[in-house]
Amino acid sequence: MRTFVSLICGTIFGFGLYISGMIDPQKVLGFLDIWAIAEGGWDPSLAFVMGGGLAVATPIFMFAKTRSEAVCGGDMGLPTNKSITPKLVLGGLLFGTGWGLVGYCPGPAISALAFGQTDTILFVVAMVVGMGGARAMRWNG
């Protein structure tokens, strides 16, 4: 049951990335290009994706937080780490740099595999190597 729920949630997430246009790196870069505001070329869509996401997720999260176990069984795996560390900021800066270079973050990169493009596959392979390498070096938070 839990595996089926995961498949459905992943599929809905994939619908969201596709419909919102976030599956297209150019859409993401159009948002990150706040320097184009003056020329009128800025695309605020990503902020609306975040806004729509938070508007729906926040009430569900508030309800979920009141539960001691998940509906399909098992614990509520809510993060307990609250510490603001240099690692957290450094990781964010490294991630943001890669994000700004191509326009892919992990979710859209994986969803875009659906298009079967070589560039996307290469990005995902490099990303997975980076994740595996960082974990092997025990750099993970």
Binding site: I34, P59, L88, G130
Partner: protein, 144 residues
């Protein structure tokens, strides 16, 4: 602002929020894509969530496949960079999300939905780096 698509952005964002909320409510897990993927690469001992994680990743690819083959909805995913830039960017995203314990979904959607200060700091960090990177590559270097 000719590329601005507020309606589809809100609907798509709402679906992302719905998927994240349901995943926590039903399975008790945070829908952070980098975390889900990282757990597949390096499963901890006794972790029984491998198939759940794989199913989520399969769904991420399945969703767009369903829409592009079964509906008139169209989308594209345009990468304009050279091979070395693609590889470096992929490595940076992989290492950065591992060191920083999350990405746009885990920190940006799930973290902010539970009012986590830690996730807010992470989100501001990657947003700031994204803005600066685009400034440098698009406006100072004229494209990379």
């Amino acid at each position: 602002m000719e590329n601005f698509t507020p309606v589809s952005a809100l609907i798509g964002g709402g679906l992302i929020g719905l998927a994240s909320g349901l995943y926590l409510l039903l399975n008790g897990r945070i829908a952070g894509i980098s975390g889900i993927l990282g757990g597949i690469l390096a499963p901890s001992k006794g972790d029984k969530t491998l198939f759940e994680r794989l199913a989520f990743i399969v769904g991420l690819v399945f969703g767009p496949l369903i829409l592009m083959t079964g509906t008139p909805l169209e989308a594209q995913s345009v990468v304009t960079n050279s091979l070395p830039v693609i590889i470096v960017a992929g490595l940076l995203v992989g290492v950065g999300t591992t060191v920083g314990s999350g990405c746009t979904s885990g920190h940006g959607i799930c973290g902010l939905s539970r009012f986590s200060l830690r996730s807010l700091v992470a989100t501001l960090s990657f947003m700031a780096a994204g803005f600066v990177t685009v400034l440098v590559t698009r406006h100072l270097m004229g494209g990379l």
